[in-house]
């Protein structure tokens, strides 16, 4: 066993940390909350130039062939600074869908501009009736000649408000809950019948509610064989969950650091409040929780690339549950120890609290992953 980062990974980590500190302090995210896009295209381009988008793709698809552990290093730093650029929805969600299911031509058409930082993507998979189950697809794709007609609704599509291209899951056969019969389609955002309603989410990010009202999609825009997309979506759910675990580490680390700093400076009763044992122990409990989540997050970031899907699901679900337990504790207590100022919008700690909730909800919450963990053969 070896948990040390390689020299290259250490360099990646320090580069990302100083990038976030310099280019994306929390004040930038705070200001972008008022912006209709909510993130910066020029910063996205810079991130691409640093090779961070290409890192997630194999060289065969024009990427740099990094591992998920490399990606997790970036995400932890992004989490620590609340960087709002749409890395997970573009690269890990929609990007992986195109990478796994798409042809070489589709890679060229959609991944090349993404890797160059010229576009961003979104994956519309979640539906109201399915909670976190990507096989619960009520949206239909009906074949008409060489085209498909899409009908249905997708909710809280991350980066759906800004994406140039949206990958949509739709049912070409079967009924909601079936693994067979789910297909993926690529829809440019100006597709007729694709209605995108931008929404603000509770953490200050943006997303979109999407209606497919008879959107007509050429057959050439289908990714992979018809009806065979469920394993790709299953893998994406794990990538997304592992990504949330990595980003959550950064959120927890920053929350803990801010809180410890506050305990060292804030005075009441004539002394620093950090001298009070009740608060010291609370801070230690936060520290313990952050360390525990770190271990399982590492487990997820290694096992998410395991060729055996059962191994992958077991580790990722364990990590997502642990993230929920630990992340919730750390973020709740970080507000508690800040006292009243922690409840105000002007203080940053609340931004971390909100992001933590969103990370817990995205790609499956605690109950979802508990049940999934207990359903694996290794349990």
């Amino acid at each position: 066993m070896n948990f040390d980062l390689t020299p290259d990974q250490k360099l990646l980590e320090s580069t990302a940390a100083s990038f976030v500190k310099k280019e994306s302090p929390v004040s930038r995210f705070r200001a972008l909350r008022e912006d209709p896009v909510g993130w910066s295209k020029s910063l996205w381009k810079t991130m691409a130039e640093l090779g961070w988008i290409g890192l997630a793709f194999p060289e065969s698809a024009g990427g740099l062939g990094g591992s998920f552990v490399d990606v997790a290093i970036l995400l932890e730093q992004f989490g620590a600074g609340l960087l709002p650029e749409p890395y997970v929805p573009s690269v890990l969600a929609a990007g992986t869908a195109i990478l796994r299911a798409g042809s070489a031509e589709q890679h060229e058409a959609y991944l090349a501009p993404l890797i160059a930082g010229d576009t961003s993507l979104a994956l519309a998979w979640a539906e109201r009736g399915g909670r976190y189950d990507p096989t619960w697809v009520e949206t239909t794709a009906t074949k008409k000649g060489d085209e498909y007609v899409l009908q249905g609704e997708k909710i809280f599509v991350q980066n759906g408000h800004a994406a140039d291209v949206i990958v949509v899951s739709a049912r070409t056969a079967g009924t909601p809950g079936d693994t067979d019969g789910i297909s993926l389609f690529v829809l440019p955002r100006d597709t007729e019948g694709l209605r995108i309603t931008p929404v603000n989410t509770m953490d200050g990010h943006k997303a979109a509610m999407i209606t497919l009202a008879g959107a007509v999609v050429p057959g050439a825009n289908r990714l992979g064989p018809e009806g065979a997309a469920a394993p790709v979506l299953d893998e994406i759910m794990d990538l997304g969950a592992a990504a949330a675990c990595a980003e959550g580490l950064g959120v927890m680390r920053a929350s803990l650091a801010m809180t410890v700093d506050y305990l060292k400076t804030r005075e009441q009763f004539g002394v620093k409040i950090g001298t009070f044992q009740a608060l010291q122990h609370r801070a230690v409990d936060m520290f313990i929780r952050a360390e525990l989540a770190k271990g399982t997050s590492i487990l997820a970031s290694v096992k998410v690339s395991d060729p055996d899907p059962a191994e992958r699901r077991f580790a990722v679900s364990a990590a997502k549950v642990e993230l929920a337990i630990c992340g919730r504790y750390v973020s709740q207590q970080s507000i508690q120890l800040h006292g009243g100022i922690g409840i105000t919008d002007e203080h940053d700690i609340g931004l971390y609290f909100k992001r933590m909730h969103v990370l817990n909800a995205l790609f499956g919450d605690e109950e979802h992953h508990l049940a999934r963990f207990a359903a694996q053969p290794a349990f």
Binding site: M1, E291, T296
Partner: protein
């Protein structure tokens, strides 16, 4: 980033597993299978079997009879012994006084004491706590005064001297300078339990077994050669164990075994005809416990990997004692809850039908000690608050 064990480490695990199967005498094997309570003579019998194999002191240097194993192999050995349900050896000689004598003792002390600890010929107990010196250990009062003839005379009382009734020797912290600041006037002595004036009186624990003792010292003469480390320097020894690599302290093997027990009980316990393991609420609770154990394991693995590379114990190792004890307690709590009415059973009371796992209730009770001994979890948190988080005093 590499989470796997090397082929050599995996082979070592297999070797340990096979050896345990082979070496465990039938009586111990049967009790281990039932996770039953081991008596002192059974524990010592197992001690001698491990000694014959050369594995009784995995963390001692090979020149003093240690197993000469690296950190990861030591962990694997400990984990496999715990997973097999083998008797837990008395830690006082092997884990505590032995390493202290190695680090601070004279060569004569090493030669006198270490071989007998290894061989299980002398059993040790620990004399640290006193009725008025628990978490505030440095306020201890057991006095040791020179008698002018090269000896020290001890007077006072030690408490929670676990298994003192079986011990041949006790190591004590005693006050040799009453005028110095409280940490500075303490010395570390080795005392033969047969010395006139030493009395050990067992106390029944909440587990219903006599694990603890009160040990009284009435004009007990101890030769000066039994002082370890410098006179008045005992506090350094008391603190030294905390600085040692303690990757075994989380007892993940034991908790993994208890989790298997929980699943076994849950599979065999029915509610309205359905095994609890198939009832969603129970299944979720067990899954959550398993995930918390995984999180502890990962912290443990990080600590091992770091120690293997020669790094000083990092932040992740400081949480092992706290979380290890909490998980152990919660695991037994879960076992009790799964057992339902059977959890009311107590040492096979006549007239009751033996519960499937009748050793669980005493273990559930005794597990409460895990967050108290070895520095209570609250004391551990005080240390982390200052040493790692840098919070003010």
């Amino acid at each position: 980033m590499d989470l796997s064990f090397t082929p050599e480490q995996i082979a070592f695990r297999e070797e340990v597993r096979a050896w345990i199967r082979e070496a465990m005498p039938p009586q111990i094997r049967d009790k281990a299978a039932a996770d039953a309570h081991f008596e002192h003579d059974e524990i010592m019998a197992w001690h001698r079997i491990l000694h014959a194999k050369g594995w009784v002191a995995p963390h001692w240097p090979a020149e003093w009879g240690g197993a000469g194993l690296d950190v990861t192999r030591r962990f694997i050995l400990t984990e496999e012994l715990e997973l097999a349900g083998a008797p837990a050896l008395s830690p006082f000689g092997l884990m505590m006084v032995g390493p202290l004598i190695l680090q601070f003792g004279t060569d004569a002390q090493r030669k006198r004491f270490l071989p007998k600890i290894l061989a299980g010929e002398e059993v040790w107990c620990q004399g640290y706590s006193e009725p008025n010196a628990g978490s505030d250990l440095a306020s201890l009062k057991l006095s040791a005064e020179p008698d002018g003839k090269g000896n020290y005379v001890l007077n006072g009382q030690k408490t929670w001297t676990t298994y003192a009734q079986y011990a041949d020797w006790i190591f004590v912290l005693a006050r040799t300078d009453k005028t110095a600041k409280k940490q500075s006037g303490i010395s570390f002595f080795l005392v033969d339990m047969k010395t006139p004036g030493v009395t050990a009186r067992p106390t029944l624990t909440i587990a219903g077994t006599p694990a603890f003792c009160d040990t009284f010292f009435e004009n007990v003469t101890v030769p000066a050669e039994n002082l370890v480390g410098p006179l008045h320097g005992g506090w350094t020894l008391a603190k030294a164990l905390l600085g040692h690599e303690r990757t075994y302290i989380a007892a993940v093997g034991l908790s993994t075994r208890t989790l298997r027990r929980v699943k076994r009980i849950a599979a065999g316990t029915k509610e309205r005809g359905v095994p609890l393991l198939d009832v969603p609420a129970w299944r979720a609770r067990i899954a959550r416990m398993e995930i918390e154990l995984w999180a502890l394991k990962m912290a443990n693995y990080r600590a091992i990997a770091s120690a293997e590379l020669g790094h000083a114990p990092g932040p992740e190792s400081s949480i092992l004692k706290i979380r290890g004890s909490e998980i152990m307690q919660q695991m037994y709590e879960l076992a009790m809850d799964v057992m339902g009415h059977d959890s009311l059973s107590w040492h096979n009371e006549p007239g009751t039908v033996p519960a499937i796992e009748d050793a669980v209730p005493p273990q559930f009770n005794y597990a409460r000690a895990a967050s108290i001994y070895g520095g209570s979890n609250e004391i551990q948190k005080n240390v982390i608050a200052k040493a790692i988080l840098g919070l003010p005093s």
